[in-house]
């Protein structure tokens, strides 16, 4: 069970329900494959640094989870098929990265309080 972190950008033309629904479908997809979620973040609508599919902004989401390595290829296959996804990036987290992610969550929690 390795630590992974996936950031993906959804098409901005989607309505709010559609984005929530997409995020939910992929959460279910992962949990059905035995993934354990550590954190889910929604950065909302952000401006892109350069136009992708000539869109200027996109909905950013972050998943942090632990899963078996072979699931990742199926997940990315799904991402590739789904046209709502403009871009995705899955990163394996080593121990320093996991430690950094925890600190980052505490920092964002303190900021919100």
């Amino acid at each position: 069970m390795n630590h992974y972190e996936t950031v993906f950008i959804l098409n901005p033309v989607l309505s709010d329900e559609q984005t929530k629904e997409t995020v939910l479908t992929y959460e279910k997809f992962l949990t059905s494959k035995g993934a354990k979620f550590i954190s889910k973040e929604d950065w909302g609508l952000k401006k892109l640094a350069y136009p992708i599919q000539n869109k200027k902004s996109g909905f950013y989401h972050l998943f942090e989870y632990t899963v078996d390595p072979n699931i990742i290829s199926d997940l990315e296959l799904e991402f590739r098929r789904d046209e709502r996804f403009m871009r995705y990036l899955t990163v394996k987290l080593d121990k320093h990265a996991v430690h950094w992610a925890e600190k980052r969550r505490e920092r964002s929690k303190t900021k919100k309080v």
């Binding site: 950031v7 950008i9 350069y50 871009r87 320093h96």
Partner: protein, 98 residues
């Protein structure tokens, strides 16, 4: 031909004297690798404002001789910047980024 007055004052001919003294500070500030110094072990590709310090106005990666980072962390920075570019957090090409 230096003037008689100059010769009288025993100066070598051709020495230029300026009104205001020249203050060229050629003392180089010792560069250090900030990752080693502050013990940062992981360069996060998601916080782009930290990565902005490692790219120039055109969005290109700064060389080590300017940022002073060690080789090990320069590679981590370059991987992080390339991931941020992939996720459109940082531009590939920019003008007047800062």
């Amino acid at each position: 031909m230096s003037t008689i007055q100059e010769e009288a004052s025993g100066k070598k001919s051709g020495e230029i004297r300026y009104l205001t003294p020249l203050d060229i500070d050629n003392s180089t500030v010792k560069k250090y690798c900030r990752f080693k110094k502050y013990g940062i072990k992981y360069v996060d590709y998601k916080d782009s404002d930290f990565l902005l310090q490692f790219i120039n106005e055109q969005g290109k990666l700064l060389p080590r001789r300017i940022t002073g980072t060690s080789l090990k962390y320069q590679r981590k920075v370059s991987v992080a910047v390339k991931r941020a570019r992939h996720l459109a957090l940082l531009p590939y090409v920019a003008d007047l980024l800062k």
